[in-house]
């Protein structure tokens, strides 16, 4: 043995690193986790303050406060209805759906170890919309709608996973291809349903619903969406650190002592629940699940302990802003899905172009 004793112990005696000055990345994470809830709340209040029916912003605040404090009534019934019955459920729904889809996108990207997947690309949205459309055609209620969406959304996920992993983990392109195929299959089934549906009864309902809109938001729909979105979202949030380990791949996860199969099933089920809740109340709203996790990753890095909550907040704010724009732009409503794609696609291209290296190492 030739190495000197001093050097040998030197290598061994590096104590814990001083944590006094957190690195730039961790400072950013901290500011995001503190700043984002405030930003989401502010976005919500501003969204409540604007709409086609003019209500003064001070009145909006007073109407809101008036629900909990004894304030003298200076506003009309119509103004109160516009804020509390029209805008508030709509803003709540936008936040639920946006947060849910963004979290699902982040979780799926980790589960598949592939940053270019999302609920829409993997065909979950198509599967869920087929389940929902089936419930509409059969004349079932909103619970069946959610359950149908959940069942077929999960089926789509399983199909993608099974086909893309015949032998070992699949390259990203294979996963995307499998998703496109599964999505196309369920889209075809939806088309088949619309062909069978009554053109002035269920068909209109299906077409309107599939377009992707929050225009018909009610507290009932908020409740319908809240249950699966919050349940699934809470599970994903709780598992957020294990998602890091899972994203390394099955083999790595196994040598570290994680059971990847079980965790993946849990996560896929949670994702299917959240997507079902979102699709049931708002149809297929694309791009949120793809773009928002990328924006979040650019901001706070890939650690899912931070990425999941930041995606959640960013998704809520993002969809609220986009929906507020759609309902204020013209007299006639622009479909929400159109705007999320119009904004999402270029933003994604820009991200892809400018910061591929920062977002993932080797796609």
């Amino acid at each position: 043995m030739t190495t000197s004793a001093a050097e040998r112990t030197g290598a061994r005696d590096h104590g814990p690193e001083p944590a006094a000055a957190p690195a730039f990345g961790r400072r950013r994470q901290r500011s995001a986790l503190i700043g984002l809830p405030v930003a989401v709340l502010l976005t919500g209040v501003i969204a409540l303050g604007v709409g086609r029916y003019t209500v003064g912003f001070d009145d909006v605040v007073r109407i809101l406060l008036g629900q909990v404090l004894p304030i003298e009534r200076t506003w009309s019934d119509t103004e109160e209805a516009a804020v509390l019955q029209v805008r508030l459920p709509r803003v709540l729904l936008a936040m639920l759906v946006g947060a849910g889809l963004a979290v699902c996108g982040a979780a799926l990207q980790a589960v598949f170890g592939n940053p270019i997947v999302s609920p829409q690309i993997l065909g979950v949205s198509s599967g869920a919309s087929f389940g929902g459309a089936l419930a509409i055609v059969l004349g079932l209620g909103s619970t069946a709608l959610v359950l149908g969406s959940f069942g077929f959304g999960l089926l789509a996920l399983v199909a993608v996973f099974a086909t893309s992993r015949v032998r070992g983990p699949a390259p990203p392109l294979t996963i995307v291809l499998a998703g496109i195929v599964v999505g196309a299959f369920f889209s075809a089934l939806v088309s088949l349903l619309t062909y069978l549906a009554d053109p002035y009864g269920e068909l209109q309902s299906i077409v309107f619903w599939l377009l992707g809109s929050l225009a018909t938001a009610t507290y009932g729909k908020v409740a319908v969406a809240a249950v699966p979105v919050l349940l699934g979202g809470a599970l994903i949030y709780a598992l957020r650190w294990r998602i890091n380990v899972l994203s390394l791949g099955d083999e790595d996860a196994m040598t570290l002592g994680l059971r990847p199969r079980r965790l993946r099933w849990l996560l896929l089920t949670a994702v299917a629940a959240v997507v079902a809740g979102a699709v049931a109340v708002s149809g297929v709203i694309g791009w949120v699940g793809l773009v928002v996790p990328h924006l979040a990753r650019l901001w706070v890095g890939p650690d899912h302990r931070v990425l999941i909550p930041v995606s959640l907040g960013l998704g809520a704010a993002y969809l609220t802003v986009i929906d507020t724009v759609t309902r204020n732009l013209g007299v006639a409503e622009i479909p929400l899905g159109v705007l999320t794609a119009l904004v999402g696609a270029p933003v994604f291209l820009l991200l892809l172009h400018r910061s591929r290296r920062r977002m993932w190492s080797d796609a």
Binding site: Y53, T78, V86, F208, A332, E333
Partner: protein, 386 residues
């Protein structure tokens, strides 16, 4: 040739390849023009474009294209939705209808027309698929003398029929002029000129009557918003719609006139902002006045508070789009807008249906046609039209 038709006349050229958006913009102009010139058209519509050469028959359709038939048509396939019931009405019986759109049948099912002519329920409906695309082989199997198809939705839905050797008569849609043109064209195609004239005359008489006899009102006219009737989503009739024409005809104001389109989807806040006096719920969906009265988001609406939301009647066909029954729709709406309740409307419906469909509706059938059950919670609708 009347001015209204000249804008579409393309004697021997190919069908108009321009997209339908363009067509609808031109239709706005045409609609305004038509409304202005209608009283002067007289009976010109019914006669201009027919020449008899031997036993053959040359008919110019609404896009200005000529088609030649050996004689009056005995077998007709209709692809546009309102065409089926209109062909039956002009013909005075259902036997000419050899095939129709499935969605035409949904309007006939459970309606007065279906009760008057139960055989209509057995007419094949496989002649067209989604978006009016013809199933050429199914059409051929019906062996029709003429096929009625839209002329303002591009050549893609017309050419396949022509290439298969079928005679196609094209319709244009949306204005009163289009409606009268369609009636006249069916009259010539079916050799039922007299019935067509009778229908067109009735329309013109009613138009003139409404224009001269409606009480002039001081101040702003009541606003009337037409919703197509979907249960989820507010699709309004814009400034280019036939509903806009009807509303203005009876002295109302369409708050959605600023939307330069046939229809558009709006949000609830826009509805609150317009706050119309009267809301009409069309038959392109199952929505009922009760749905809106019970909706907490709409509780502050004037039309909800004053109970002035009405489901549009449906008899031989939906009363909201232009049809042979449109004069009845005008009278119905005039009665609502002016609060007169449309006295004599029920008798008028009986008279008209006896002519159009050869059957007189019973009192119970009249209640169904005028949507008395759906409108029972709305103002001034008890025994409507009695």
């Amino acid at each position: 040739m009347p001015a209204v038709f000249s804008r579409r006349t393309q004697p021997s050229g190919p069908p108009d390849p321009r997209p339908s958006l363009d067509v609808s913009r031109r239709r706005l102009l045409g609609g305004a023009l038509a409304a202005a010139t209608l009283p002067f058209l007289g009976t010109a519509c019914g006669r201009t474009e027919q020449t008899k050469s031997g036993s053959g028959l040359t008919v110019t359709d609404l896009t200005g294209q000529k088609l030649e038939l050996p004689g009056p048509a005995h077998r007709v396939v209709t692809i546009p939705l309102p065409a089926a019931s209109m062909v039956v009405a002009v013909n005075g019986g259902p036997e000419v209808l050899a095939g129709m759109n499935a969605a035409s049948l949904t309007a006939i099912k459970g309606s007065f027309l279906g009760e008057a002519y139960p055989e209509l329920l057995k007419v094949p409906t496989d002649v067209a698929g989604a978006e009016f695309a013809p199933n050429v082989e199914s059409v051929l199997a019906r062996n029709p003398d003429v096929v009625i198809q839209w002329g303002d939705r591009g050549p893609g839905i017309v050419d396949p029929l022509r290439k298969a050797g079928l005679k196609v008569a094209q319709l244009t849609y949306g204005t009163q002029a289009d409606l009268e043109g369609a009636v006249a064209m069916y009259g010539r195609l079916l050799g039922k000129q007299d019935r067509a004239d009778r229908i067109a005359d009735g329309m013109r008489r009613q138009l003139k009557k409404l224009r001269t006899e409606l009480p002039g009102r001081a101040g702003t006219p009541p606003s009337v918003l037409y919703l197509r009737g979907a249960s989820d989503g507010l699709q309004v009739g814009g400034g280019d719609s036939y509903n806009h024409f009807v509303t203005e005809l009876v002295g109302g104001r369409n708050p959605a006139a600023e939307i330069k389109a046939e229809q558009a989807t709006i949000d609830v806040e826009q509805l609150l902002k317009w706050d119309p006096d009267i809301i009409l719920l069309g038959n392109f969906g199952p929505a009922t006045p009760k749905d809106m009265y019970d909706d907490p988001t709409l509780a502050a609406l004037r039309a909800v508070r004053e109970r002035r939301i009405y489901k549009v009647p449906l008899g031989g066909y939906r009363w909201d789009p232009p049809s042979q029954e449109s004069p009845l729709m005008w009278q119905w709406l005039a009665g609502l807008v002016h609060g007169t309740g449309g006295p004599g409307l029920r008798a008028e419906v009986v008279r008209e249906y006896a002519f159009l469909y050869g059957a007189k509706p019973t009192d119970a059938q009249l209640d169904t046609i005028l949507k008395l059950p759906a409108n029972s919670g709305s103002r001034d609708y008890d025994d409507f039209g009695r």
